[in-house]
Point group: C2
Chain length 114, copies 2
Amino acid sequence: MSSTVGRHAAREQRLDAIFQALGDRTRRALLARLAQRPAMITELAAPFAMSLPAVSRHIRVLEGAGLVARTVDGRVHRCALHAAPLRSAAAWLQQYRRFWQGSLESLARYVERR
Amino acid sequence: MSSTVGRHAAREQRLDAIFQALGDRTRRALLARLAQRPAMITELAAPFAMSLPAVSRHIRVLEGAGLVARTVDGRVHRCALHAAPLRSAAAWLQQYRRFWQGSLESLARYVERR
DNA sequence: GCGATATTTAACATTTATATTTAATATCCA
DNA sequence: TGGATATTAAATATAAATGTTAAATATCGC
């Protein structure tokens, strides 16, 4: 699994997991909450109109993408944001920066011309 | 639907669609291909070990997220990258930049100390 | 008009995602 | 010990995603 294609597939798989995890507003809200400070599961679940097991599984998805780290402390599971994978996602998006920059500049030029 | 919550929900929905669209490696590969130059459906589908209808639907998902624009020219559907929504995704990610930067700086300090 | 080409639609099968409710498990603490 | 708390697991239902093949639709070009 140390071949070039293997590494490529693994990176793609990680991006799949990261973007899929981000593709749900509940999970993005959980990340936003964790960006404030770490929190236990019950605390994280409280604001949502959704059962605790449902939130628990959303958190597991975030963990699977490497976006949340869990520390078990007695019966309390404390969750913390782990932002490193977001960096990979941002790096992927930056590849396309010139395209949206391009269209913005085109728009600017267009607006100036009038 | 022009209330603040309405707008918020709409933005969340758009982010859902964008991130979900990006959460599939076939679709990311299609975007990468379209970043070279526009192409028709058949052209886009050719490299994939997957039926044409399957690719056609992936493209529709990208369209749904606003990432691909289609121009019908006779029987040929020409697709072009439309990167603007990626900017929203990047903007969302930038909110978290300080977290991954933070860990990078910590690492740098740690490496320096030794 | 007719056959070849480009694409979608339909019908279908399979898998994955998401949510619920009800148990089970583990820990805390009086 | 025993009841309250924190969390997961199991069972279940539904919906959505993904892929296939075969048929339908529309256009091209002779």
